[in-house]
Symmetry: C2
């Protein structure tokens, strides 16, 4: 079945390399704005939620970035101090603290990550719809395999 195993291995390596470069984009954004990686992950989570029309609470944010409540407090303190987010007490359940991104932070994120997305889409103009259908299927298949590893942890032997 494996006509050319070497080519398939090379693709796996290409994928890893892409992953490294993608991480570097986040790293660069962090350096540019004086943030650490956790802060960037948090901002991305908040932006994603905002795009879905939801406002994250401190607790939900902690789940999204896998931090305990103490760390979330410190995290939001940092983001609030530099003006990237605002704490807003939820009027319906005043135990909750909703997080709202400032316009400037939203703009910076959209510029950086949105710009990348735009360029990626632009580069895909060189592909036919049929070719992109193949890529789409491949990404879904690979993600499923990776997801299984991330969840199950070790290989079947364990």
């Amino acid at each position: 079945m494996t006509r050319d195993a070497a080519a398939r291995q090379e693709i796996a390596l290409l994928l890893r390399r892409l992953n490294v470069e993608l991480d570097a984009v986040g790293q660069r954004f962090a350096e540019r704005h004086g943030l650490n990686r956790t802060d960037v992950r948090a901002l991305v989570a908040i932006m994603d939620a905002a795009r879905r029309g939801e406002a994250l609470t401190a607790g939900r944010l902690g789940e999204a970035v896998d931090l305990r409540s103490a760390s979330v407090t410190a995290l939001v303190d940092r983001l609030e101090k530099v003006g990237h987010v605002r704490r807003v007490r939820d009027p319906e359940d005043r135990r909750r603290v909703s997080l709202e991104m400032s316009d400037s932070a939203m703009a910076a994120g959209a510029e950086h990550f949105g710009g990348l997305a735009r360029d990626l889409v632009g580069a895909m103009a060189a592909y036919t719809d049929d070719e992109l259908a193949v890529v789409h299927r491949w990404l879904e298949d690979m993600t499923a395999v990776i997801e299984a590893h991330a969840r199950a942890g070790g290989p079947p032997g364990a």
Copy 2:
């Protein structure tokens, strides 16, 4: 030119999702072995070098994972304490400290990451060589775009 822009945007989102899952694999490996993310990156760098037939020195490792010498010392201390690496004074230049992975660490890494690579290659058996050629080209193109962003940092406006 863009026959279906929505499909292209969806692919960009799929790619980001894959990136997240791929990071989770490293995270899982770290938890399983009581390591932090830096330690895992270091072990991967040492493994990659070993695969190329080179033995990393402390300094080279620091460049690979972007840490100062003080941090590298602490890092290697941690890895050595749990028996994943050995410090070996280079007999030709005794200022240098070469890092050698223990067999157990090498085996654990090969099992975890090698297993993933194997499964990825296995999943690619469902693709024709022509289809994989498209994927290959696409990965190279996307990596180039991402690389440009990671290097140049911000978008053209900056």
